[in-house]
Amino acid sequence: MFLQTLVTGLSMGGIYSLMAVGYSLIFSILSFSNFAHGAVIMLSAYIGLALATKAHLGFGLVVTGSVVGAGVLSVLNEKFAYAALRRRRAPSLYLMISAMGCSMFLENMVYATIGSRFYPFPAFFGRQIVTVGGSSLSLLDLFAFIVSIGAIVALHLFITRTKMGIAIRAGVDDMTMCSLMGVNTDRLISLVFFLAGAFAGIAGIFLGIRYFVYPTMGWVTNKAYIAAVIGGLGSLPGAMVGGLILGVLETLISTYVSSVLRDVFSFTVLVALLIYLPNGLMGAETEEKV
């Protein structure tokens, strides 16, 4: 029973990590909370759903399509809603309001056009079960966990080992200096948004398969913000660890205490952390603490 709960928690945590990584990437480069991230996740789930049910594609192609689709959406989102503000060096509050507006726009566009129905994903994994040491683990859970961790490790390698990755890290450190050194910052930011969108795409597919696809499914990104804060905003390993910790804690709470208290618990953790450990487990010292 405990092992089963742990694996469910880890797989939920893996999905939280994927969302937290995207959120953290954008935060680290533009230092604002991208509230539209949840809407991108929701749209990616709809893209995946359309590919799976209308085009009858296999799982691999569905994931690829939704990753690319979400990446492009995320870049477009930046171009339309943030680029002008960013060039004007507007305060991060403005970017945040604009993000909120985007999320409202996208979510309610889906309501108005597709409708508020809950769509189930076709059963890619069925109810297949792996038995380990006497407890039965769902294949989907194991798979979600492994894919999430794999994707985050790949991103880490990309950021630490490639030239583009170095550019991203330089941009995180000092955007002005980076552009003086001849890096095209517009392209750099588009790249970051594409990466964040791609991770949102994977997260959207797994969320859709686990639960349903519906217009407000993106609200679960609130948990990703919490995960990112637990790990320390702007730190990728931190986002992963934070996501896993949150996923496991939440599953333990809803299994052994009460499922109603789960969300109350997460937000209490958030507030407590922000007060006692505002830099999270692995975050760098934040200068702006206003």
Binding site: M100, N108, V271, L274, P278
Partner: protein, 282 residues
């Protein structure tokens, strides 16, 4: 005629909550995604009091106002003392709102998600009277020393602190006043609609309040008032386009931030504009 009166009264109730948020976001410069929770606390406190104990309406409103103000301390004291970045604060207060909704759905005397049926007590006199009193008090607060403190904290927290302003106390005061106004609005709303439900006070409502404040203009009360009034009337005028109202609000927020971040009346009031116009004609 009853129909129009009803809409105007709902618009007035909405304006009270928007005035509250305008103090906090527009004048003190903190971003809140959870003010609908304070409206909810006001609505439920007053609703439970009139439903279970038949308290006179004026006491129910006062209790709703007090409860909303007091509950803002629960979230305000820890988060504002820690001097969180504005987006951390927004997320923390969002969490507060969600936690509140879950609690309302599970408390014994709120009737859960099914909602609470109340008497229709807030007539035109109550609503318009409350709006006038609230606006009068807000205006006086904002032209007082506290109004200047709020603006100083908004413009430059570091400089304000250097000048000896206690950031924590100033922000907390602003939060409590704004929550109390939202509480009044909630109490009136509950007894206007004669029915309340936890889902009436979620993120969507918080964003609508925020959209009115931002579109109306930071640092202005009359701007958000005008926008709140228009936002409450428009969906009635455009019944058939109701589905497109929220996407339009979203788009409006993005466009305002891109082209006119100060909102329609940024940092000025209707009276300022009249004064300027008069000068020009002289």
């Amino acid at each position: 005629m009853d129909y129009i009166l009803n809409i105007v009264l709902l618009a007035c109730i909405n304006m009270i909550a928007v005035a509250g948020l305008a103090i906090f976001t527009g004048f003190t410069g903190l971003f809140s995604l959870g003010h609908a929770a304070f409206v909810g606390i006001g609505a439920y406190t007053s609703g439970v009091l009139t439903y279970h104990w038949n308290l006179p309406f004026i006491w129910a409103i006062s209790a709703g106002m007090a409860a909303a103000g007091a509950s803002s301390l629960i979230i305000g004291i820890p988060t504002l003392r820690a001097k969180l970045r504005s987006d951390y604060f927004a997320i923390a207060i969002l969490g507060f709102g969600e936690a509140l909704r879950v609690s309302l759905e599970n408390l014994p005397w709120t009737n859960g998600a099914r909602g609470l049926s109340l008497d229709e007590l807030s007539g035109p006199v109550w609503v318009i009277g409350a709006l006038v009193i609230c606006l009068f008090l807000t205006h006086n607060l904002l032209i007082s020393r506290f109004g200047s403190l709020f603006a100083a904290v908004r413009e430059d927290p570091v400089a304000a602190e250097m000048a000896g302003i206690n950031l924590f106390r100033t922000r907390l005061l602003s939060l409590v006043v704004s929550a109390a106004l939202c509480g009044v609005s909630g109490a009136l709303l509950a007894h206007r609609l004669a029915f309340i439900q936890p889902v009436m006070f979620t993120l969507t409502q918080s964003t609508q309040l925020l959209a009115s404040v931002i579109a109306g203009g930071m640092g202005s009360i009359s701007g958000p008032m005008i926008v709140a009034f228009i936002f409450s009337l428009l969906p009635e005028a455009l019944r058939g386009l109701n589905m497109w109202r929220l996407p339009a609000y979203g788009l409006l927020l993005v466009l305002i931030m891109t082209y006119r971040p100060q909102g329609i009346m940024g940092y000025q009031e209707l009276t300022d504009i009249f004064r300027k116009a008069r000068k020009r004609f002289k």
